[in-house]
Point group: none
Chain length 193, copies 4
């Protein structure tokens, strides 16, 4: 019986409820009721509902940044490969952690100023890492030389992040297949010639 079993369960369940009904529409009462515990328990582990949301955000973005870093740190792969892996990682992550993803992308505005200030730099870092990867690809002759790296990075993030709105790993396509299509689109475009 680990010490933090209960805290973990609260977090888990909250993610599910926040995804389904939204952060504001889910009450602390809803959370504790669905777990068969009481509000006292909730406030023993979390000082506020918003702190719980922050926890969820932290876990999500930290995981993402860490995975991205692992990909980027690999010296032997070229930029195209790294970009491919990042896209796959993102789609896969959204697929596996669909609920967390939805909460992460949708409920960020419910964080307090202070907590936002801790999350935003990590989000920015993630985006800037992609920008940087594109710049490296340009320098290395893998990507076209006249790209606007910032906007292209935002486009790539759009393609991948938007998938939280529709992608279900239980559907007819796997994360791998979807990623493949997206990477092909990003690298080669859809036009003939």
């Amino acid at each position: 019986m680990g010490l933090l079993v209960v805290k973990g369960k609260i977090t888990e369940q909250s993610i599910r409820l926040f995804e389904k009904h939204g952060f504001s529409e889910t009450s602390v009462q809803d959370i504790v009721d669905s777990l068969g515990v009481t509000k006292g328990t909730f406030y023993y582990y979390f000082s506020s509902k918003e702190e719980l949301l922050m926890d969820i955000h932290h876990k999500y973005i930290n995981d993402l940044v860490e995975n991205q870093q692992k990909i980027l740190d690999n010296q032997e792969k070229d930029c195209k490969t790294k970009l491919t892996e990042i896209v796959f990682m993102l789609i896969g992550h959204i697929g596996e952690q669909g609920a967390s993803a939805k909460v992460f992308f949708r409920e960020i505005e419910n964080l307090s100023e202070d907590h936002l200030a801790a999350i935003i730099p990590k989000r920015d870092q993630f985006r800037l890492n992609i920008e940087q990867l594109i710049r490296e690809g340009i320098s290395g002759g893998e990507f076209k030389s006249d790209l606007n790296a910032s906007i292209v990075a935002l486009g790539i993030l759009g393609i991948t992040n938007w998938s939280y709105q529709w992608f279900k790993p239980t559907g007819s396509m796997s994360a791998h297949e979807v990623s493949g299509i997206f990477v092909d689109m990003i690298l080669n475009g859809i036009a003939l010639d």
Copy 2:
């Protein structure tokens, strides 16, 4: 003085407030206070806060669908051009109606079941029209023959729709410039050769 001046003002102001603080975090009190009217007035024009949200959604999606249809109806343009125009229309729309766009993309979950049922088919129609355009482009030899039209359409929507998260027409790039970059990316990809 126009008949629905007040109703219009409430809608306008609500969009601004919903964008800034979110639908659930904006109270009817907040709305009427910022306009110097009373709650009674609000409920004279709207039967519920949710109905107001629905109004906003309806206006937005109807506008989008109408603009898209105008583009698609033009017999003289090829698919690439139409796709280009749609991307530009979307980014421009998000730029001009940034607040509405944010509300539209972020607050859809706050609609009631019934109202959702009226909005979702229109959203779907918009997406399916893009899918169809891609299929036509494939048939006509403008687009690659092995594309997965559904996923590609979702990718394009991701690129454009995600821009509500960051695009400001007052920034250093115009909607036209951003659209140009995105269209180039979609059509030709970013890889060299």
Copy 3:
């Protein structure tokens, strides 16, 4: 086009609505909506919602008292006959004016102090007239000599007035039949011997 056509329609409709949903649960809006007029019209004819209720009460009790008086004034009939006629009049009245009756008996507490003060004496008069009739019947040897006229009168009113809770003239028994049973019960009781 009588002057008071609209006022009459409002009263009529209100009775129906008050019966169905109760006075407090029926809004002025409900009333005017169901008639296709506006609130302004309502307040042109009635200074308040409570005044309308008072009107209904007045009409009902005045009607009752008047009918009762006609019966009592007849010099040729004995007390048993008069009592019989009063019971029949009450049941019949409740049958015909079921909605008014329900409103009259149920919503009296929603009258203002002032209006109550005008209605209560009439109600009392109606009851005291029955008491008096019983006393006359006792003196005249028609009724038992040891009756408590006040309580007996209340018993008779209970039997008749309670019928607003269940009596429907469209049911299997007519007001005449029900009155017959009640009068027999009041006069002769239900015990054998």
Copy 4:
């Protein structure tokens, strides 16, 4: 200190206030103010104001049905005696629980459909038990053979239930005296011979 002291106090006080001013005219604020607690407390114990009303109804009718059953179950008593006891029980109950009685008889329309569906069968049962008692009395030769048991039962209920409108145990007559008069009236009638 008992667990449900506060809930009990809320119920008690509500009955008093509902009796005095009516259910719709008594606000939750009125209730909690008169007890020195807060609205939060009210909604901790009751999920809605209507639920509280239902509680009151349930308690009242259950009590009545139970008392009636005790009387009916006694094998040694004849029908006249049982009827006498039921009338006395009703008048006495209305006397002691005057406020509850008023609420019970007057505010039933404020119950929700669902709650009504739970109360009405019990009310019906109470009435049908009286009908049945009359039928038994007829079979056993205690009551006249040509009675309409249904209507007579409604008459008896009218006599007794109507007393909630006027009977006060603090008045000049006790419940016992009033019941005596009513039973005599029901059994033997008021006519001489």
